[in-house]
Symmetry: C2
């Protein structure tokens, strides 16, 4: 959001070349605030603001810009080397990942050899893995030191570490053997040995693990950071709580958007071009529209039945929306329960049994309401059809379609997850559309038996 109050002030300072004022902004405000206030500045204006802070400060502000702006700044900047060195490894890897391949590769030579190797390794992990999320700037201790020695080490490592509140203890081969918190360290006697103080109940994640599982573990144990290890329990990096919060928010946004039939839109959509927003939304709406065309095909198939009893066609939207609503509801519940780690695909029998009971009860509830309403159909609309027969058809159809929607909606997310597809797609309008079409078939099949 462009800040209407501070932006003109910043612009005025830049125009006047107010070095003292700009240095004050860079020094005194929180990096996130500086990034927010300068959102409306051009690339060259932003660089002119940034250069009034130290390289570390520049890097701190830089990571709070949206990735698109970071990329624009990279293309329009010539003082990049220091800034890239000063960025945290995980933020740097995220930026490199977001740049076009050739731009990213042209930046690598700006880094020192160690940083370059580190960046390449982080970039080699798949985008949504713990490895891609972790930082390699962690503080560590050898197992054979004392509290006093550890505090000395912490002071040395602090400037280059993302957090020094958790200190990971490794043996001679970099195997993770325990951890101590800075809290424990500050409270302990200086002569105590680290292997007596450290906690050994380690909770770790593998570099290949999905970032959602990482965030869930971190939040479950209320950790500040969680260590990432390889198959031999060697320490590769850590994921910190702030990145875990970002993951939770991003994944929730993806789930919500998919549930509403929108593709992932990471940025503020009011700031995207109409073209991009149209493309993102039109793809989904068009797919749903094409799928919904089958309702026409299904209805055309039952055209004769509709011509015979016109009242039947008046209940079509009611019957099919019942399936769509009950299907979305079940799919949403199951998808969310999986996202919260309460359920796995192998629980499908239990889910099926549960949804059979609940779906039947829900079907009977809606069927009863449907029966009452259909029995009140005005005589003019009824034509030659029998009032009670019509009510019975509507009640049975609504009940059966509701049960059918519930079962489809609850099983599809489990099947999707089993097949490695994001179960979020199952809670999207696609399930509703599928149940719409099959609902028409159920409805007219029942009508044929009882009314025609």
């Amino acid at each position: 959001m462009i800040n209407p109050i501070f932006l003109p002030e910043l612009r005025a300072m830049l125009a006047e070349g107010d070095a003292e004022g700009l240095a004050g902004v860079m020094r005194d405000l929180h990096p996130a605030t500086i990034a927010e206030f300068s959102e409306g500045l051009s690339v060259s204006e932003t660089w002119r603001l940034l250069e009034h802070g130290s390289v570390e400060r520049q890097a701190a502000v830089f990571v709070y810009f949206p990735l698109a702006k970071q990329a624009a700044l990279v293309r329009g900047g010539d003082r990049l080397a220091g800034l890239l060195e000063a960025m945290a490894p995980d933020s740097r890897a995220e930026l490199l990942r977001s740049l076009p391949r050739e731009v990213g590769e042209s930046l690598l030579p700006l880094l020192s050899k160690d940083e370059r190797q580190d960046a390449c390794r982080l970039l080699s992990y798949p985008p949504h893995s713990a490895g891609a999320l972790m930082t390699t700037d962690f503080a560590w201790l050898p197992v054979d030191t004392t509290v006093a020695g550890a505090l000395d080490l912490v002071r040395k490592q602090a400037p280059a570490s993302e957090t020094i509140y958790y200190l990971y203890v490794v043996d001679g081969e970099r195997h993770l053997v325990g951890f101590v918190s800075l809290r424990d360290l500050v409270l302990a006697e200086p002569a105590v040995r680290i292997d007596e103080l450290m906690r050994r109940d380690l909770i770790t994640v593998r570099a290949q693990e999905d970032r959602e599982d990482v965030a869930r573990k971190l939040s479950k144990y209320d950790f500040l950071a969680i260590p990432v290890v390889d198959a031999e329990q060697r320490l590769l990096g850590i994921v910190t709580y702030d990145d875990a919060i970002d993951v939770v928010v991003q994944e929730a946004t993806e789930d919500v958007l998919r549930g509403g039939g929108v593709g992932p839109l990471v940025e503020n959509y009011l700031e995207l071009s109409y073209w991009k927003v149209w493309r993102n939304r039109a793809v989904w709406l068009a797919c749903l529209f094409v799928a919904e065309l089958f309702t026409f095909t299904a209805l055309a198939y039952f055209e004769d039945e509709m011509a015979k009893v016109l009242a039947l066609s008046l209940f079509v939207p009611l019957c099919i929306s019942t399936g769509g609503n009950s299907g979305s509801q079940a799919a949403t519940l199951i998808t969310r329960a999986m996202a919260l780690g309460q359920m796995r695909p192998r629980d499908w029998r239990r889910v099926l049994r549960h949804e059979l009971v609940v779906g039947t009860a829900l079907g009977l509830t809606l069927g009863a309401i449907g029966f009452v309403r259909a029995s009140l159909t005005p005589a003019a609309v009824l034509d030659s059809a029998d009032r009670w027969m019509l009510a019975a058809v509507i009640a049975q159809s609504v009940a059966l379609i509701c049960l059918w929607g519930t079962l489809v909606g609850s099983m599809l997310p489990l099947i999707f997850r089993r097949l490695g597809v994001d179960p979020g797609y199952a809670s999207s309008p696609f399930v509703a559309t599928f149940v719409d079409v099959t609902g028409i078939v159920i409805y007219f099949s029942i009508a044929k038996v009882f009314l025609l």
Copy 2:
């Protein structure tokens, strides 16, 4: 989730009275792990496990139980006083809040006077406010001390503080004037004065602020904790990152569930009784069903038109689902953008202009597909209707309903927020249902002009 491997082992230890083994479990495992493993234990079994740990340890495990289990343990326990004292104030308040009023009140006398007053104050804040989320166990420093003095104070306060990584600096009247991190403290020279070291760019929240805003602020600035102050900037408590993550997850769950037409279900729904699950889901489905009954009323109104051109009725589900889908899509986007703090109700003009353009483009896209499909209507279905006229009616209806759905879907969440209603309700199937009914009216009005 009941753990199938460790539960029998725990049960065996309890049956054998294996005091050493149980003490080992309570000592060596992470409290969250102990709570997970003992999920299947009865109330008395759980108490027999807990009593093998220190009171602090008992409290640490206790807070990881679901609130329902905590409440059951409270009713079935007689060693509560120590445990309640040892719990963090925010967890204790959350437990008291979840208990029936008279049970909660019967527990208050078990607390010491200070703790009791504290609990009463925390309970007085509205449930979703910063005040209800905060803990009063924070570490603080007077402004006139030195680094060495501060480290001594931290060591004294550590056992009773939820975090000692952020230390809040207050003046003589408890006004918050700055903060230092333990990192800064450990790195600084012992003789440096706190008011030279402390950061003054304070980001605070008010006790009445919504917990979602609190979590958003904390995550925006990557804070470990954020201080809660009153109108005079006096420090009341802090909200820590782990509680903020919980809020983010809970609010996301609420949004997702509402989007799928389900009321909030905090617990694992497979573990709830069928009756509770049915009630929660039936209320929503029944409301939607009753609303959807108006599609029948609307269609009955256009019965004569349908009788004249039967092909019209075949396109009804297609036309109305277009409105539902485009409405849900727009509502989801706007609701999420507000949840992420990218948009406010006063931006409505900008949103309206944006959605007018995008909605028109989307309408034209779907209208074009509809035109093609309708022009391919089989002659048998067409009857006496003109093929091209029908195609024109479908194309215009789809385009207009899509635009209408988009506008309704984008404006409703803003209006809801303005009225103080959770905008999540607008992204729920209710909007889709509303647009369904109005879509029928749009469709047949256009058909009347061109076909009849």
